[in-house]
């Protein structure tokens, strides 16, 4: 039987087991929309903005571990999606984006709604394709999913000219496997490196495990737990890694980096052995490279060889899938004798006593930290939490103790305001049985409020926890610290009434202006199983995120809450530890 290119495309997506396509139509993809409508396996989610489609697919992917799929039209369709694609790229999220292109004969003619989609997306995708032959559609889709989901995952764009979706052929069956001589992502860590690693670990006296998003995306949570518990080493996790190891566990020091805990950063500074697992030494983690972990040897496990020795030279590089590497390493270390690190722990516990996440409540104001703590309490720490970008994101990361991977969904690499709401929608579709909360603030949420409409149409009940501080708070904080309180462009007058906004989209809104109303409001919101509830909480506009390492500072130079002075390196003689 003859099929047109659009039908072949949809059949291919079905063969890949796709459940949802997040998309928005346009001239170049009308045949594809038509083919999508004619079947029932894949549900199309019609978003209100293509950036929302990409973020929703991204949230779906992060929550489920399966690739997210996006469909956009040519020209403005794909350019609108670029922010979402770049967001997924920076955080290594598997995603396949199908974009329509103008008909082949018009390519290069500045045709209506033509942009060079592969050119524009080239630097923010793992790979992209322009399909030139209808016979290549199925194979290209197969390759796209293969590339997006294997090795270090990432987004793949498949650009299809309209005429290729209209042409007809008798298709071959969908390829079962792909063979690409130029792409062999599976690598097994060398035994020699494992032995060397074990030796360094067994000899270290002040070790620290520094784990990142690779442990979440690479499904290495179990192996990481086993490794950490077997070694008894302290563990600190990056913003992207939270939840791979339970945040409440006594070996966990919390997050590290610019807004990491005092104990995490001090322990990094004092460590003699840093075991980096699926983390990439981002500048928000390392601060000044000159002063980064001055006494440490580095073990670096990552699936992407280009991450190793990019920012920090690894003493022992291990390229491999993190879960497999840890499994082998765990076997190697089993029943071995470790150094006595009790002195190291007592030092760390002293740092812990600084209680760097403590904050003072003020009568009459709601502290944003309290909001996150209340959310944690009300959801018993079991919700999937997405976030936007700003202070609220940092407070969410600091005060919601994630104890499972894939519960914390945020744009860490690109830091995209507007990510939270559509990502929550995608996460809810992926995990309909779970409570999903979107932690946001009045600045970020306004970048994507249109998706409230999509959320009604597709019944994705999400709880929006709006930490409404009336400011682009993170910007305001930097201006307070580094620009002598000149609050240029960080205050928004004329905010909408978020309750009415939510209601106008058919959702429920709850306004919280007093701390006493906070918990009841949240309980009420989560009781509403079928409804999206917008909880607009007026929080302290002056609160800042602490601890803070000013950009380019060292781990031992932290600003702590309630102190005017920088806490600089304490007097501890690490060699005595």
């Amino acid at each position: 039987m003859k099929l047109n290119g659009a039908q072949i495309l949809i059949n291919s997506l079905q063969s890949e087991g796709v459940e949802y396509i997040f998309g928005f139509p346009g001239g170049a993809v009308l045949h594809i929309c038509d083919a999508l409508e004619a079947q029932n396996d894949i549900t199309n989610v019609l978003v209100r903005h293509e950036q929302g489609a990409a973020h929703a697919a991204d949230g779906y992917a992060r929550a489920s571990g399966k690739p997210g799929v996006v469909l956009v039209t040519s020209g403005p369709g794909i350019t609108n999606a670029v922010t979402g694609i770049a967001t997924a790229h920076m955080d290594s999220i598997p995603m396949v984006v199908i974009s329509g292109q103008v008909p082949s004969p018009l390519i290069g003619m500045d045709a209506f709604q033509e942009v060079d989609a592969t050119g524009i997306t080239r630097s923010c995708v793992k790979h992209n394709f322009l399909v030139r032959d209808i016979n290549e559609i199925a194979n290209t889709v197969k390759k796209a999913f293969h590339i997006a989901t294997t090795g270090r995952p990432g987004p793949v764009v498949v650009d299809i000219p309209k005429d290729k979706t209209i042409e007809q052929i008798t298709p071959k069956s969908y390829p079962e496997e792909v063979e690409m001589r130029s792409y062999k992502p599976t690598v097994k860590a060398s035994n020699r490196q494992i032995k060397k690693t074990a030796e360094l670990i067994l000899n270290s006296k002040r070790p620290i495990i520094y784990s990142g998003g690779g442990c979440v995306i690479g499904n290495a949570s179990n192996e990481l737990r086993e490794f950490t518990r077997m070694t008894g080493f302290p563990i600190t996790q990056t913003l992207m890694g939270l939840g791979a190891y339970p945040g409440n566990d006594e070996l966990s020091l919390g997050m590290l980096g610019m807004h990491g805990t005092y104990e995490s950063n001090m322990a990094m500074y004092g460590a003699d052995c840093v075991i980096a697992i699926g983390a990439r030494f981002d500048d928000r983690i390392t601060g000044s490279l000159d002063k980064f972990c001055p006494n440490a040897k580095f073990i670096h496990v990552d699936i992407d060889p280009s991450q190793i020795s990019k920012n920090v030279v690894a003493d022992i590089p291990i390229v491999g899938q993190v879960n497999q590497v840890l499994e082998v390493l765990n076997k190697e270390l089993k029943d071995k004798k470790f150094q006595d690190i009790s002195k190291w722990w007592s030092q760390i516990n002293k740092w812990r006593e600084m209680d760097s996440l403590a904050y003072k409540k003020k009568p009459g104001v709601i502290k944003p930290q309290t909001v996150i703590e209340t959310l944690y309490e009300v959801t018993k720490g079991k919700a999937i939490v997405t976030s936007d970008v700003g202070q609220h994101q940092m407070w969410a990361a600091q005060y919601y103790m994630f104890d499972e991977p894939r519960r914390w969904i945020n744009s860490g690499g690109l830091g995209t305001m507007g990510f939270g709401l559509p990502a929550a929608m995608g996460a809810k579709l992926a995990m309909p049985g779970k409570d999903v909360a979107c932690i946001t603030s009045e600045g970020s949420i306004q970048m994507m409020t249109q998706e409230l409409s999509t959320m009604l149409q597709y019944s994705t009940p999400v709880k929006i926890i709006n930490l409404n501080n009336g400011y682009l708070g993170m910007v305001r904080q930097w201006q307070e610290f580094f620009y002598e309180n000149r609050y240029a462009m960080s205050y928004m007058d004329a905010l909408p009434d978020f309750i009415k906004l939510a209601e106008s989209y058919g959702h429920m809104g709850i306004l919280v202006e007093k701390e006493a109303d906070l918990k009841p409001a949240m309980l009420e919101a989560f009781k509403q199983k079928e409804r999206t509830v917008f909880v607009d909480i007026k929080t302290d506009p002056t609160e800042n995120v602490f601890p803070m390492i000013p950009a380019g500072g060292a781990h031992c130079d932290m600003l702590l809450a309630g102190r005017d002075e920088m806490v600089s390196k304490d007097e501890t003689d690490l060699n005595a530890v």
């Binding site: 080239r122 793992k126 990019k310």
Partner: protein
């Protein structure tokens, strides 16, 4: 340090822009880049002449390897290799320069490949140093235009990029 990096990649449209885009995106240097099909028409071979310290070059090699269409990357500088560059230079000598040009062509053992009433086109190939030396030796006032291929190279002996 100067490095000559050979890249074997799928002979597909867009592959070249991925490589050049990578260099500009990450701020890597390109002194020259040459590319053409190999004996296997499905593969292109690219030679990139770049400069950077060891860590930069390590990143360049790793980032190139990461490109999906790249089959093999090899840093020729770290092995025994042969390298060549070809230059065409068009000059318009006055009568008194003519003898000097013929002498230079002899000394540098290059060829005059085209002659018109007023101009000579000279072809020279060799190491970059030799080409630069030839260019310096020519009276710059008579040079009309220069076209260089950039460096290409190949390893010596039994080793080949795919073996």
């Amino acid at each position: 340090m100067r490095h000559i990096i050979s890249v074997l990649l799928e002979n597909e449209t867009g592959a070249l822009s991925r490589v050049s885009g990578l260099f500009s995106q990450r701020g890597f240097n390109i002194e020259s880049l040459t590319v053409a099909e190999t004996s296997d028409s499905s593969l292109s071979r690219m030679t990139i002449f770049s400069t950077g310290n060891d860590r930069v070059i390590e990143q360049i090699v790793k980032q190139l390897n990461k490109l999906i269409e790249v089959v093999k990357v090899s840093d020729l500088t770290s092995q025994d290799h042969v390298e060549r560059e070809l230059m065409l230079v068009k000059v318009c000598p006055t009568n008194k320069d003519e003898l000097e040009i013929k002498q230079l062509v002899d000394i540098f053992s290059c060829k005059i490949v085209d002659v018109t009433e007023k101009t000579y086109t000279i072809e020279i190939s060799g190491k970059t140093k030799k080409i630069n030396a030839f260019l310096n030796a020519l009276n710059s006032a008579i040079i009309m235009e220069v076209s260089r291929t950039g460096v290409t190279g190949i390893s010596r002996g039994k080793k080949a990029i795919l073996k």
